[in-house]
Subunit: 199 residues, 2 copies
DNA sequence: TAGCAAGTTGACCACCCGGTCCGCTTATTG
DNA sequence: CAATAAGCGGACCGGGTGGTCAACTTGCTA
């Protein structure tokens, strides 16, 4: 099932170099950073990159998959937290912090093709749904808000701050706080549209 | 100052066709829609496009400028509204509705070069600041929120819904409502980060 | 340490992009 | 209706892209 042969020592190191370089490059220049630049940044040839990742999308998928799994694992862990309200906030905080530099649009855009990413993402989404359900039952989140809502709003803080030039690295916390206040039951006004079924 | 000669009849029509086609194309495929596609959609040659708009950015700027001016005018109008709270909400509603299809990232990204766009945008931003100040004085918006915050959050509803495939066209209203609830004074929790100076 | 498979490399390819240019068409106007 | 300038279009250009490949290097193993 898995790889019959382990990776050669230098190849394993180069793979790590490529992933790191790609993560940096995508963070700085968005998802249309060129593979040539990524390879150069890793100090390797372009051919080497394509030996490890058959396609640019595969490279992206490898990065994204790591992030999603990480986030999913954290979510699972937080399902056992004593206080579901702060647990949800903690989850959203880590999610935003993890992507600090750049919006995680690629989370959706790259996922269209790669089956692994889609699977991991849906698993993670299910966890978010559970986190939100628990928080709602605890009265920490308004009754008319669903997991799908939170999933969609999850990326907003980073997106919003990506527009201020030379933004302080923690500015997203401000907007996460505002949005989270909007999710609380205190002083909530009725919502004008039903939630989406999708995520 | 302005054009010494009026546009020829067919040229004026073609200009309109190009603007409409470009707006559609950008809405559907994002800002890296190709000029060739835009021209084809308008039923015209690529050369014609470049005769009307020296550069792809100029074309984008022309579209964006219209939208910004429209929004700015509405804002000015709403400054005289009797109730500043609903006036701000109305402004944000129209802003989001106007861009319904696609996030208005280009509002920022395209603005980097074109001086006209920058000027119009800053004027519009000043109006938003006034709207927010009035709403805050009226107790319709929490004390620790600034115009800059609202400007940044303005695009979030569209951005957020752009990720749900086949989203109902009014879904953004739901997220505008949630975010606006986060801006209200009722049940507001202190914000963990100072507002940005920029916009 | 010898041999070989695994890994590396950068020149190279086809393709697509924004933008140019010049021969052609056509609205305008006297 | 001519004459003319404004407008049109698509072949073309240079540059940058993702991806390939055959010659070369190197880590592993017997």
């Amino acid at each position: 099932m898995t790889s019959p042969r382990p990776l050669r020592a230098d190849a394993a190191r180069n793979r790590r170099l490529l992933l790191a370089a790609a993560a940096d490059e995508f963070a700085e220049r968005g998802l249309d950073a060129s593979v040539a630049d990524i390879a150069r940044r890793a100090g390797l040839g372009k051919g080497t990159l394509f030996r490890h990742f058959a396609t640019k999308d595969d490279l992206l998928a490898a990065i994204v998959l790591d992030r999603i799994d990480e986030l999913g694992a954290l979510g699972e862990q937080l399902l056992d937290a004593a206080d579901p309200g702060p647990a949800l906030l903690e989850f959203l905080t880590v999610a935003a912090d993890q992507q600090q530099q750049r919006d995680l649009s690629f989370l959706q855009e790259a996922g269209e093709l790669n089956a692994d990413v889609i699977r991991a993402r849906e698993q993670m989404f299910r966890t978010v749904h559970k986190l939100v359900d628990r928080a709602r039952e605890h009265g920490a989140v308004r009754a008319d808000v669903t997991g799908a809502d939170v999933i969609l709003l999850m990326c907003a803080p980073n997106y919003v701050t990506s527009y201020v030039s030379d933004a302080p690295p923690d500015l997203w916390r401000r907007y996460l706080a505002i949005i989270f206040d909007g999710l609380r039951p205190d002083g909530a006004h009725p919502l004008p549209h039903p939630p989406p079924a999708a995520p």
